[in-house]
Symmetry: C2
Subunit: 194 residues, 2 copies
């Protein structure tokens, strides 16, 4: 398969999807957040064929999202538990759930909802946030700039994106204080941002 | 395929994944956020076979994530643009990107990064948030309770989950003020939360 700018083997979204982007895989992670641990629990709750489940669980263990431990002396009963890396998928699962609740809910409404444990109140809608002010950002308030792994091809594409945004009247992303216009300078090794 | 509790045709996560969970589909949405509009742009940037791209674009248009418009008088040049429903996928894309940056980044680091346009500073890590205090919530601070579409089978499973959490020393989710323990009462039509 041909790969081009922001080559998919380097893009973090593509790399994340390569591990967790398969439909069943994220539902397995959802079940793990809902307390599932044993093969039979995943099997009965997801209604998934054992061979497919086994393959997906192994992939998640190999990828470090789940860890497997024996739960009995004989070692026959295995428990699959989320690792720290797996628990870090919580924002992905929550963002998907909220989008589904809003735009793809079943006619009777969602069967479950997410609340803050301490108050019982539904959690806030997720949004990208400013690291400076903590305020929610709209998609247009978020800009894409070169990362440490950017190639010349990525920088060329970013220049195209800047031109397209300018034509739409959007300002270029500011340079963070002290970094001397790093975002706008095509350079193989851009300054890392704080 | 067998469906069981939190039946996948009703769960918002499953319904969301059914529409956008396919690997290429989310990468198409990523490209749309990066300014891609024309078939040829998606094709060259994703290195995707035209028949697969065509199928995925049609699915996204049918699903209301993208809308298609003619960009020339002749109607030959088509532009695919995100709808409001599509733009609402921004938190999903950002959460995936941040997880990938953290746990699946390429050896040289990510090719691109997301910054606040006004400041140039990388955006904050996404997290579920309290609707009351706006503070970030850990996965354990978020509880699952019955939603408006809950069936008896869902309520039974939630009761199991509560028992499992209690065994782990986690408190049950609080009832929101004024709703009289709605979360803990198995009832076909649970009180809607504010």
């Amino acid at each position: 398969m041909r790969r081009t700018s922001f080559a998919d083997e380097r893009c973090s979204i593509a790399r994340a999807l390569d591990l967790i982007g398969e439909w069943w895989t994220l539902l397995i992670v959802r079940e793990a957040f809902l307390g599932c641990q044993r093969f039979g629990e995943f099997e009965s709750r997801l209604g998934i064929a054992p061979n497919v489940l086994s393959q997906r669980l192994n992939r998640l263990v190999e990828g470090g999202v789940l860890q497997v431990a024996a739960t009995s002396q004989s070692g026959k009963a295995l428990a699959y538990r989320l690792t720290d890396k797996g628990r870090d998928l919580h924002p992905v699962i929550v963002a998907l759930a909220q989008w589904g609740d809003r735009h793809a809910a079943a006619p009777d409404g969602p069967p479950i909802q997410l609340v803050e444990r301490d108050t019982g109140v539904p959690i806030a809608p997720m949004a990208a946030r400013s690291a400076k002010t903590d305020r929610p950002l709209r998609p247009r308030d978020v800009a894409v700039v070169a990362g440490p792994g950017a190639t010349d091809s990525d920088l060329a594409r970013l220049a195209d994106l800047r031109a397209q945004e300018a034509a739409q009247g959007r300002p270029p992303p500011a340079s963070p204080a002290g970094s001397a216009a790093a975002h706008r300078t095509p350079s193989r090794k851009p300054t890392r941002h704080p």
